[in-house]
C-alpha cells in the first residue's frame, strides 16, 4: 500500500471537515449526541469505526498516538489500529500514556492522569443511555431536551431491588455539565471519576450509530446514584500480581485448567511503569 493511494489519514478532506464540525458542536454542548455521516471504514462496525473516524479527523503529523483495547496496548485490535495510523497518517506512536497527544481507547481510561492538551478518543457501541428503557429515538431525544431523566434512576433502582446494591459495573451513566445524561461507553465504573474535571479533551465516536459526543476539558461529570446508595467504584482484596499496584483496575486471569487465577493490571503501560519504579 503506497501512501499516495489514500488521502492523509484515510478519509478525504471534506469528510474530515464534516467530522470536525460535528466534534466542535459536540464540544460546545457537553454530553449531547451529535449525528454525523459515518463512513465505511476498512473494518467491521463494532471494531472501533467511530473512534477511528474521530481520530482520523483530529490527527496531524505532529501528533503521537497511543491505542489501547481494554487497557492493553498489545491486543490485536489496538495493534491493528495503531498500524493503520502509522501507515496512513505517518503518525508517531507510543505506548506511554504521558507521551501521547491522542489516545484512542476501547473500554478503559488510562490509569496515569491525563494532561491538558491530550485528547482521549473513545470507541462507543451504543451512545444512547436511555435506550434500554425507551427504545424510541424520537422520545429519547425529547427526554434529553427536557431533561426527563427519572427513568435513568429506574435502572439503578432495579439493580438495588434485585442485587441489594447498584450492580451496574460498566457503561455507568453520568450527568455531564449538570445537564445531559451520557453513556460513557463500556468503561468500568472504576474509571468514571477520571472523567470529572479532566484536563484532557474527551471525544466519543459511535460509527454504527453515527453519533459523536464530547466532554470538554475541566467539565463536571457526575455518576448517578441514590442518597442511600451512593456511587462507589470497584475495589480488590489483593494488589496486582505483577506490579503490586493497589490503585489500578485489575483483570482476572485464569492461569491453568485447575482454576488457578491471578489479578493483574488491565492498563499494561501503567503496570510496566510500576514495575520499573519498583526496580529502581
Amino acid at each position: 500500500m503506497t501512501d499516495q493511494a489514500y488521502n492523509y489519514a484515510y478519509l478525504d478532506e471534506q469528510t474530515k471537515r464534516m467530522l470536525r464540525r460535528s466534534i466542535l458542536k459536540a464540544v460546545a454542548i457537553p454530553g449531547f449526541q451529535i449525528p454525523f455521516a459515518s463512513r465505511e471504514m476498512p473494518m467491521p462496525y463494532g471494531w472501533g469505526t467511530g473512534g477511528m473516524q474521530v481520530t482520523c479527523a483530529v490527527i496531524g503529523k505532529q501528533d503521537t498516538l497511543k491505542v489501547i483495547d481494554q487497557g492493553a496496548d498489545d491486543t490485536t485490535n489496538a495493534v491493528s489500529i495503531r498500524k493503520f495510523f502509522q501507515t496512513l497518517a505517518q503518525a508517531k506512536t507510543t505506548e506511554v500514556t504521558s507521551e501521547a497527544s491522542i489516545i484512542q481507547t476501547r473500554h478503559r481510561i488510562p490509569e496515569s492522569p491525563l494532561q491538558a492538551g491530550q485528547i482521549l478518543v473513545y470507541q462507543v457501541p451504543i451512545p444512547e443511555p436511555l435506550r434500554f428503557i425507551e427504545p424510541r429515538e424520537t422520545e429519547t431525544r425529547l427526554m434529553h431536551a427536557l431533561q426527563e431523566y427519572g427513568v435513568m434512576h429506574v435502572k439503578l433502582y432495579e439493580d438495588i431491588a434485585r442485587y441489594g446494591h447498584i450492580a451496574t459495573a460498566y457503561a455507568y451513566p453520568v450527568k455531564v455539565n449538570a445537564h445531559y445524561i451520557m453513556d460513557p461507553s463500556p468503561i468500568p465504573k472504576f474509571d468514571n471519576p477520571k472523567m470529572h474535571q479532566s484536563p484532557a479533551l474527551q471525544l466519543f465516536g459511535a460509527g454504527r450509530e453515527k453519533r459523536i459526543y464530547a466532554i470538554p476539558p475541566y467539565t463536571q461529570v457526575s455518576s448517578l446514584d441514590f442518597e442511600d446508595h451512593p456511587f462507589e467504584v470497584q475495589s480488590w482484596d489483593e494488589p496486582c500480581a505483577i506490579c503490586g499496584a493497589q490503585d489500578s483496575f485489575l483483570d482476572e486471569v485464569v492461569l491453568d485448567d485447575r482454576g488457578t487465577r491471578q489479578f493483574i493490571c488491565s492498563d499494561t503501560d501503567y503496570c510496566r511503569q510500576q514495575q520499573e519504579a519498583n526496580r529502581d
Binding site: E148, G150, V154, A161, D225, E227, D228
Partner: protein, 258 residues
C-alpha cells in the same frame, strides 16, 4: 366545595374528518369531582380524553388547568416541558390496556417508583417504602414487588397502573375504559378500589367508558357524546333515569336490566 374549577375545557375541537373526533366541547371540572364521558365507539370520547389530558393538540380551543399553587396553565400554551411535568406529577393517565401505561420489563416497584424519581426522589429506601405502600393500597401482594408486570394478571396490571399514577398524589386522573377487557369479577374489584381511592384522596377523575354501570357507580356527572359532539350533560342519575336526548334514551334503554 371549592369554587374554582380544576380543569376548564373551552370550545375544544379536534377532527380527523367531518364529525370524526370531537368538536365544540366545553365543560368545567372541580376538585374531587368524577366526570364520566359515555357514548358509543367512535363517538369521539377517547379523542376528547387525549386532548384534555394534554396529549394531543386540538385544532381549536383551550384547556386550562389550575395547579396546586392555584396557578392556571393553558395546557397547549405552556412549554412542552411544563406540560409533560404536569402529566407525570399532578395529572395521571390510566390507559385501557395496562401495558400501554407500564414499563413491561421493569419491576412493579420500579414502575411505581419511576414517577417519584421523575419528580426528583433520590432516596432508594423512601421510594421503595412508598412503592410498597401503594402496592398494598391497590391490593397487590407485597411479595410481588420485584416481579415485572408481564407476570401479572390483567386485573393486577390495571391496579398497578393505577398505583403508578397515584404515587405522586395527583389532583386529576384521566381514565380510558379502565375496566374494559377485564372479567366481570375482576372489574368489580377494580371499581370498588377506584371508588375508595377517589373518595380517600379527593381525586378528580375524568373517565371514559361505554359501560353505563361503571358510569353510574363512579361518576358524579355525565357527558354523553355522539358523532363528536356532546348531546347531553347532567347529574349521573338524572341523565340515566331521566334522559332527555333521543340518543341517551336509546343508550339507556339498550342496557340489559339487572
Amino acid at each position: 366545595m371549592t369554587d374554582q374549577a380544576l380543569l376548564q375545557v373551552k370550545q375544544i375541537s379536534k377532527l380527523y374528518q367531518p364529525n370524526k373526533g370531537c368538536q365544540n366541547i366545553s365543560f368545567d371540572l372541580y376538585p374531587g369531582e368524577v366526570l364520566g364521558i359515555v357514548g358509543e365507539s367512535g363517538s369521539g370520547k377517547s379523542t376528547l380524553l387525549r386532548v384534555i389530558s394534554g396529549r394531543e393538540q386540538p385544532d381549536v380551543g383551550e384547556v386550562l388547568y389550575r395547579d396546586r399553587n392555584q396557578q392556571v396553565h393553558s395546557l397547549f400554551q405552556v412549554s412542552e416541558s411544563k406540560r409533560r411535568h404536569l402529566l407525570r406529577s399532578e395529572l395521571g393517565v390510566v390507559h385501557q390496556h395496562p401495558l400501554d401505561g407500564l414499563r413491561p420489563r421493569v419491576s412493579a416497584g420500579g414502575n411505581i417508583g419511576e414517577r417519584l424519581m421523575a419528580v426528583g426522589s433520590r432516596h432508594y429506601g423512601d421510594i421503595r417504602a412508598r412503592a410498597s405502600q401503594w402496592l398494598a393500597d391497590v391490593e397487590i401482594d407485597i411479595d410481588r414487588i420485584d416481579d415485572t408486570p408481564l407476570t401479572y394478571s390483567g386485573g393486577m396490571q390495571q391496579r398497578l397502573q393505577i398505583a403508578r399514577n397515584l404515587v405522586t398524589e395527583p389532583s386529576l386522573i384521566f381514565m380510558d375504559e379502565p375496566t374494559g377487557g377485564l372479567d366481570v369479577s375482576v372489574q368489580a374489584k377494580l371499581l370498588d378500589l377506584m371508588r375508595r381511592l377517589v373518595q380517600e384522596l379527593n381525586l378528580a377523575v375524568i373517565i371514559v367508558t361505554h359501560d353505563l354501570g361503571v358510569a353510574r357507580l363512579l361518576a358524579d356527572r355525565l357527558v354523553v357524546m355522539k358523532n363528536s359532539e356532546i348531546v347531553e350533560t347532567g347529574l349521573t342519575d338524572q341523565v340515566l333515569d331521566d334522559p332527555q336526548h333521543a340518543y341517551t334514551q336509546l343508550l339507556v334503554s339498550s342496557v340489559l336490566q339487572q
